[in-house]
Subunit: 411 residues, 2 copies
């Protein structure tokens, strides 16, 4: 293929791309915490006050002065006089004197004078005015102290953290009903090809419907970006140039899926090269599927020329586009990618020197979790629909064997 | 704890709950495919036509009649006369005669008379009108036949499939710009507690902000449900009964987080028991955290009484609420839950006979991926924020040892 001067290993290609994206700092916005699920914290969250704000009981029982319980046992109970009950939701209006005990619920506030709570199970009611204590308790036992969860001024959630239900809970606990998050990077999507028509059209003979605009948009949105459609463009320099320039101005980066022919790919690379400096960094990646991938940075914004084949486009977008979204969101580069271990059902030969990504169907069987490679003549979209995992065969491997335990990435 | 008559193992509790939810069939709606990411296919998708709809080349090269190339080799090339180029996006206007070859691009339509494509690399241009063929090609080589991806009438995506970018691509390829999906189950959330105030309020001494309404809503929405807030209710039967009845009518199921005291939990179970038949199925699960969990089905709708502690509430919601959402969405019960294998950093003793769920911080180290248990006096919300995984210690285990390879679930 004369168009490829040099095939670069995927990891090197990704590194080269990320190195060339200028560190402009994160762009942030303030939104309501209730809408923050899946967004990314833009600035360390500092606790405005301690948690809890008052000493709380962690059990149902009696608030006591621990010294009073020192010698208590089943055979030699300590007798304490039972005073008021601690109400939920307000401070107790009384102070506990020595040799007194006050009924308290989980979450209730310790009255002054008490320094521990004895669980209900280790007490016995003698009368309305007296209880027996059957075990000693230590100072602070069954109590959360002020600031024990969080101290005032403590950094509780770091910048770059993806907001999950847990973080929403933590923010609400501190009264932070608004939160500063990283703005979603806008990603312009352009689909090239003389043969490509909109999915709502009935294709004429020789035409195919646009898949990439929609599958890539879903992938980008799911990864935390904001996809913007720029439509279908014929394999022709001027039209592509015009729309690509507009997308590059309006978005944080641009993804172009090339027309499928070699000449269409030539048009794509020529247009990308002319969009701005430094221009094309990688043209051709040593990976299957997805060899004819173009990675560029133009006017400080990433530009991708993905293969037109819908399967290649999706696999390559997972390899290169998602890491760029992660990068622009300020997510940690070593974040976990979920995977499962499964047993390979067949031999998978692979050409050494080339990284392969194989679509895998994971199946639970009596022999455990099995990884069935999905073979298909030509990477058809419905083969990919059948898959629920991807297996990487590294460049230095000549393949894997049936029965091998392999790590299957869950996309 | 007198309120617990019997602690049921979590798996048994889940089975009992799911068995008691009547099989009413799935409720579906038709939406635009572009908005279908994360939704669930309600009816098998049947291909309205084959894919591809015409024979397509998978490479750049020449469309030929395979018999013509039978004896071709580098030393003994076959000479074919070069005719028109196949245009992209329309049917070729010509028919290929024997001993002819037509230039064709990846994705182009085979002209009548051609039955294979020879890759550009295995040809040589002699003149504008003649090429050399250096290899033989077999019938169908480098061609996708009509219907080779999908036959007309074939079931291509099954009911119960979660819609990913791949499915969106497949639907668009078939022109299915609208899709029938399962309606999101509406889940009513009620937060109980005399001490609980809204997060936008400054709590008085003795009060705490509502966490559960928001963390549970985020969890439910993320799992494909539609959370509906019914606010904060004091620990008092009549108020809770009124709001719970309304939620049960308006939603597919209801989640109540109980007040934290034993008496508040008693109110919750009494109210749930009176909401409808069959009523409370489980009161107390043999799991930590989350023992005081109530599982019920009232008037054929699931009702949950979750512990008031925010950590317990989230862990228990992952164990019981999400499987019910999966069930109501018609998702397969054995779907994969992503996990990673990591090395435990410390010993984890556990009481035999009780299932434990431990919050884990996964850390990449030079020794590989490590699983650090997060210990905390009392399951504080910010401990859970520090975690990025959960480790299950089964009831029949007395714990795990430092250095063990453990499977950590990624929540």
């Amino acid at each position: 293929m004369p168009e490829f001067l040099k095939l670069i290993p995927p990891d090197d290609a990704k590194r080269l791309l990320l190195q060339n994206i200028p560190a402009n700092g994160l762009v942030s916005e303030i939104i309501e915490t209730v809408h923050a699920l899946g967004r990314v914290i833009a600035q360390d969250i500092i606790a405005p006050h301690p948690l809890p704000t008052f000493p709380r009981s962690t059990v149902d029982g009696f608030a006591v002065y621990s010294d009073d319980t020192f010698s208590a046992s089943d055979s030699q109970p300590v007798y304490l006089s039972r005073v008021s009950e601690v109400p939920m939701g307000t401070a107790p209006s009384f102070k506990l004197a020595p040799a007194q005990a006050a009924s308290i619920h989980t979450g209730g506030m310790l009255p002054d004078g008490a320094d521990a709570v004895i669980m209900l199970e280790y007490t016995q009611t003698v009368s309305e005015r007296e209880i027996e204590i059957l075990r000693p308790v230590a100072v602070g036992e069954n109590v959360i102290k002020i600031g024990e969860d969080v101290e005032a001024g403590q950094a509780v959630i770091p910048q770059g953290r993806l907001i999950r239900p847990e973080e929403i809970g933590g923010l609400m606990a501190l009264g932070l009903t608004h939160v500063q998050v990283v703005k979603k990077p806008r990603v312009g999507i352009i689909s090239c090809g003389d043969e490509v028509v909109s999915p709502d059209k009935l294709p004429e003979v020789g035409q195919v419907r646009d898949i990439n605009s929609y599958s890539l948009a879903a992938l980008i949105d799911k990864a935390g970006g904001e996809s913007i459609q720029y439509g279908i463009v014929p394999d022709e320099s001027e039209s592509l140039m015009k729309i690509a320039r507009r997308a590059l101005i309006e978005c944080e980066f641009v993804v172009i899926t090339a027309g499928s022919s070699a000449s269409a790919r030539d048009i794509t690379v020529t247009v990308i090269a002319s969009l701005g400096k430094p221009g094309v960094l990688v043209h051709g990646v040593n990976v299957r599927p997805g060899k004819p991938t173009i990675l560029a940075v133009c006017d400080d914004k990433p530009v991708f020329g993905l293969p037109g084949n819908p399967v290649s486009a999706l696999v390559i977008a997972r390899l290169f586009v998602i890491p760029v979204i992660d990068h622009l969101l300020g997510l940690p580069t070593d974040r976990l990618h979920p995977s499962v271990i499964a047993k390979l059902t067949t031999n998978l030969p692979s050409q050494a020197g080339q990284e392969d990504w194989i679509a895998i169907r994971l199946v639970n069987s009596p022999q455990g979790r099995m990884a069935e490679p999905i073979f298909g003549k030509s990477n058809l979209i419905f083969n990919l629909c059948e898959a629920n995992g991807l297996l990487r065969i590294p460049a230095n491997s000549t393949g894997m064997s049936a029965g091998d335990a392999v790590e299957v990435l869950l996309p």
